[in-house]
Amino acid sequence: MVNEYRIALAGNPNTGKSTLFNALTGLRQHTGNWAGKTVSLAQGNVEYKHKTFHLIDLPGTYSLFSNSTDEEVARNYIVFEKPDVTLVVLDATSLERNFNLALQVLEMTKNVVICINLIDVAEQQGIQINERLLTNRLGVPVIKISARNKKGFPLLLDTIDRIVTGAIECNPAPMTYPPMIEDKIKLIEPKVRELVGNEISSRWVSLRLLDGDETLLNEISKRLVPEEG
């Protein structure tokens, strides 16, 4: 179907993904103020401008380096299932750690919207966020919302809509690592590209191979490389 799009909700644990999911889809995923409340995927739909967005509530993770199963679930979904848009939900009161995950997502995929949630709490604590500047620095839309108070939804939905229709293009600003790492990436990347084509980011795969991520290796051979010697 042309008018159906898959939107994945990723983010650190306890940043309000399920709350946002409930508010948008009208479903009743359970929420809780502790890391690890959601442990399996949940799906729900939002109708917007004659389109259907299938929202997928991913388990919260601290990183996407696959140290544990839930991280793998989230990572595999973003990398291999290729949602049309990935929403990264961040906690406005601890952005430093939250950006760490957002940057990882930006390395893997292009169509990303950064949702800075809990903006109500941030305002109370006197935290002021310049989303224009962040949008510029990151190269993807940054939107402030409060999932609990249903604030900022119109802009969020509109942005998703404009990404899927191609009205906005996301150009994540690339991460540049120290030369030592960059040199190694350069050595490997062309060969990786031969193998995985344009299916997934070859730069990111190269980096993961350098990091020794065996689970990714297995996943790639399972999904992308045709079965033969």
Binding site: H30, N33, S40, L95, E96, Q125, L134, L138, L195
Partner: protein
């Protein structure tokens, strides 16, 4: 070139510090982004969370507060459920009059009326009126506490104890989920990364009484343990007994974890990190509505799905005679000697066996059995109910044993199924069945034999 070769090549190039460098770099960039894009106008500290943590995790008050919280939660549930429970029971009794008239009017045969109204209708509505009100109170209250952020503090306080027995500190979180439903809690153990510690959490989750068992626990505690009290005090005593039972369940959890981590699941506690989020005021209305509606709905569905067939089945067993004894009675007589050794009886064991699909139906099945016609009398008030038990030779010891059996016995069918799905192992699923069963037999056996030996009754 295959991906495997590429991997080998990449590994040859890589250094051990690569991950550190990557993460450190990511953090530097995060830091820079925050520095440029965010300004703090007030002081950064969240003093409310700090003040509350000073109380909730205080060396002196931390543990007492946890017990008091548990007590308050149960007290609200028990005291608050009394009235709606009896209103529901009355309402269903009132409806039953009409149902019976309808059957008479249609000249329906007696057995049909017996099966549908006395078996199915009474069994199902009994479950609903006993189970629904407590849950409609407990769940919203619990999820308020959960959304506020109290659970990670419990995990923080309790971690040391779990570590001692070789288990994971996050097991307190999965145990807390167990109060709602053990089957769901088994899935929630996914938050524990280490397979060994996760298995401990799965195997012992059952020692936290799920909502399907409170009905039984509350009814028995208020009939036999709090019998001499009335009103608010009665609820308070009942609460005390239930909290005692829950604490006993926690002690058993520690004990079983300890034994397992010295034997079948040998190993040392693995790494552990626990995030303590700031306290957040939940959206009270939404949370209350969401949890009470979804939970009440699932209780209704479960009641109809499980209680109804079980009620019919029990009725049928109790009314099909071979010679002059019903099938049910054969089974009961067979189990009776063993039951008596445990300070229980054949009916009770029968009820637990038939109650395997869901704990909610144990007590209704037991009552149907006692009334031997296989149908429930209208037990509008608890005094009638108590009389039924007394007629079958119950004492407080029988009640205590049944409560302990209920606390300790094998997980319900759904939970076992989930354990199988999560562990993908027949062996561990069997152990998840066997360990509780053995304990559920041993504990009442020891208590009963001790009481008899010293003639304490």
């Amino acid at each position: 070139m295959s991906i495997q070769d590429l991997y080998t090549e990449a590994q040859a190039l890589s250094t051990a510090e690569l991950r550190d460098d990557v993460v450190q770099h990511l953090y530097e960039r995060s830091h820079k982004l925050c520095h440029e894009g965010i300004s703090y106008t007030k002081t950064k500290r969240d003093t409310r969370t700090e003040k509350l943590d000073a109380i909730f995790t205080s060396p002196i008050f931390g543990f007492p507060i946890m017990i008091v919280m548990l007590g308050v939660l149960f007290y609200l549930t028990i005291a608050g459920a009394n009235i709606p429970s009896s209103i529901l029971a009355e309402f269903f009794g009132f409806l039953e009059g009409y149902l019976t008239s309808l059957f008479t009017y249609l000249h329906a045969p007696d057995w049909l009326h017996g099966m549908l109204v006395l078996g199915l209708y009474r069994g199902t509505t009994w479950v609903i009126s006993v189970m629904l009100p407590p849950m409609a109170i407990f769940f919203p209250a619990f999820s308020l506490l959960e959304n506020y952020g109290y659970l990670p503090r419990v995990a923080f306080n309790m971690d040391r104890l779990f570590k001692r027995v070789g288990a994971h500190g996050k097991q307190s979180l999965t145990m807390a989920m167990g109060f709602g439903c053990n089957a769901a809690a088994v899935i929630s153990t996914r938050i524990i990364e280490s397979p060994r510690e996760r298995m401990l959490a799965i195997l012992t989750n059952n020692f936290v009484p799920c909502n399907g068992r409170w009905g039984t626990l509350i009814v028995l505690a208020s009939l036999f343990m709090a019998a001499n009290f009335t009103g608010g005090i009665k609820s308070l005593v009942t609460t005390g007994v239930i909290v005692g039972i829950v604490l006993f369940g926690i002690i058993v959890t520690f004990f079983v974890s300890w034994v397992l981590s010295k034997t079948a699941l040998k190993g040392i506690p693995t790494h552990y990190t626990l995030e303590m989020p700031p306290y957040r005021k939940p959206k009270i209305f939404d949370t209350v509505i969401r949890s009470s509606l979804t939970k009440s709905w699932s209780v209704l569905v479960r009641a109809v799905k499980v209680a109804a067939p079980a009620a019919i089945l029990t009725w049928v067993f109790a009314n099909i005679y071979i010679g002059d004894t019903s099938i049910l009675m054969y089974a009961v007589e067979f189990l009776d000697p063993f039951g008596k050794m445990l300070g229980l009886d054949g009916y009770i064991l029968m009820a637990f066996i038939l109650g395997l699909p869901a704990n909610e139906i144990v007590l209704p099945i037991l009552l149907m059995g006692y009334l031997s016609t296989g149908s429930l009398t209208e037990v509008d008030n608890l005094v009638d109910l108590k009389q039924i038990f007394l007629d079958h030779g119950w004492t407080w010891l029988t009640a205590l044993n049944m409560m302990l059996f209920s606390l300790l016995h094998y997980p319900c069918g759904t939970t076992l199924l989930n354990i199988y799905k999560e562990t993908k192992s027949k062996k561990w699923t069997f152990l998840a069945f066997a360990i509780p069963t053995v304990l559920a037999i041993l504990v009442p056996l020891i208590i009963t034999q001790t009481v008899r030996m010293f003639d304490l009754m």
